[in-house]
Symmetry: C2
Subunit: 320 residues, 2 copies
């Protein structure tokens, strides 16, 4: 492929003239413009857009950090981000971190090196202080409450929504309430644990470590939960579950094990994915697609730092 | 932020010397190297990696075309691609097309303009001839049989595997077999339709248009299938289903509607996702993660065009 020098040679003009033609500058004679355009055609010249981005300082790429691409929760978030990106002519660069901090740093470094215009962090592993260091290179948008920070955010209040779930189950007569979480680090999990602790104090119940189930992410994780539950002398009468997929897995296992839902075990989950509708699962709807859309808009309209709290909604069905 | 000229001025050296230091060239005196490094530090200089890519001609970005990011089938494919990309220090640029051809062209144009090093098309909408035009700009890898073309591919033979599914159901005594597909365009769907047509001829059964269900992609689509089935005078006794998610949705609706599986309706699906294991669904395993991994390797090791056929595997469970 010809470069700009060769084009100049072929067209019999200066490199500066070729550059002016490429950038649609005025003050190029009609003859010279034609000569350059013919040389471009003859040599099948393609502009290297990295060069164009270099001069304009924009890549039209937005980085998105997710722990896994193939998960219903992050799938819906990325769906919201991707749909809005398409509308605004942005493309997404996907960083799958598997919850590894070094992968997150790689993404932050790409922001630093101007390879992406902005970065959306759907699930953060690095400390706030580390991420904050990179805000000077470009906008960083978070999917968690960052009202104290110099980064825009779109979030639901996980303390508030988990408390809402607990109080709802309590109002239905439950005191022995267990819960499932994706992982025991992560800020969202910490908010949920704090809400649980405060709730137990309020209703004066002891903390039972057995009632907490970690690493519940996928449908198949429901199996492990029910296996552990069956082995308990005094199992919980209700479960708050990470997401609808895990709740669906639990529900299918309950049918197999003849555990009656909600009589023996009430199930309340999060997200309101289609599977929750089909299986009649009571759930707290998290507007994930809406959150994703808002995160993308914050990333591309970043003149001011914005914080948008969105709200969960109780969808009452048949598992509580 | 300082550019290379300012660095040169600050360090009291030539632009060429700064360039040599940035690119770790030898033949720079210790004094000059120190001066440049101090200037970089003082000015908080960051290399614009687009400039580096420009000179090296590599972006370390691989484009991935999918119709939707949030779908179990493409989710597993992208998982395979993403895991292998991480290992090889590549990042993914995601193009969600919603099956729109113009979105595909945008991705192809990014390849043309050197914004990505290679392109993986998980589901193609543009004609082969259009895609083929872009192979001169960089490697394009396809997730469908392209043995006649100048593009690498990793695929399963959908004609062969659909025939395998039909013959399996026939060996179990079924003659009235229906099937669900994602969409009625797309080359994979065409192979499946052709296999169905040939099978009907072979067993001398008529084609019943009612036995074909389109737009079956998600769990919730199972509901529509069962609703239509209930309304039929002579419903099929077996269904071959797009994927395990739709099969799971059908299975849940069968339970609600008191349709006995497999006695009244046998269900055979594709993929072997975890949900198929938990719900005991008989399925033809498609090695999606393996396919994704291979697609990425083909995209980055592209000196020769390769075609790799992978094979489905019958997983017998309780729905046939």
């Amino acid at each position: 492929m010809a470069n700009i020098k060769e084009l100049a040679r072929m067209a019999g003009v200066s490199v500066a003239t070729v550059s002016r033609v490429l950038n649609n500058h005025p003050y190029v004679s009609e003859n010279k413009r034609n000569a350059v355009e013919q040389a471009m055609k003859a040599s099948n010249y393609q502009r290297n857009l990295n060069a164009v981005h270099l001069s304009k300082g924009k890549t039209m790429l937005i980085g998105v950090i997710v722990p896994f691409v193939n998960h219903p929760y992050f799938g819906l978030l990325v769906e919201g981000i991707a749909n809005e990106a398409v509308k605004n002519n942005y493309k997404l660069v996907l960083f799958q971190t598997n919850y590894e901090e070094t992968r997150e740093i790689e993404a932050l470094e790409m922001l630093k090196h101007k390879q992406i215009d902005a970065l959306i962090i759907c699930s953060r592993n690095s400390p706030f202080s580390v991420v904050d260091d990179y805000t000077k290179y470009g906008p960083i948008t978070l999917c968690e409450d960052s009202r104290e920070k110099n980064m825009s955010s779109t979030f639901v209040d996980h303390y508030k929504s988990f408390s809402q779930a607990l109080n709802y189950l309590h109002s239905k007569g439950h005191k022995k309430i267990g819960y499932c979480l994706a992982r025991n680090s992560g800020s969202n999990s910490r908010y949920r644990e704090k809400a649980y602790e405060d709730f137990l104090k309020k209703i004066n119940e002891p903390f039972v470590p057995d009632y907490v189930f970690y690493d519940c992410l996928y449908f198949e994780d429901g199996q492990t939960v029910i296996q552990r539950l069956i082995g308990m002398h005094s199992p919980p009468t209700a479960l708050i579950v990470t997401n609808d997929q895990v709740a669906a897995g639990i529900l299918v296992c309950c049918t197999e094990e003849d555990i009656s839902v909600p009589d023996q075990l009430a199930i309340l989950s999060f997200d309101n994915q289609p599977i929750a509708q089909v299986m009649n699962i009571t759930t707290l709807e998290i507007p994930l697609v809406e959150i994703g859309k808002n995160l993308l808009l914050q990333a591309i309209n970043h003149r001011q730092v914005h914080h948008d709290e969105l709200f969960v909604k109780m969808i009452e069905r048949k598992t509580v």
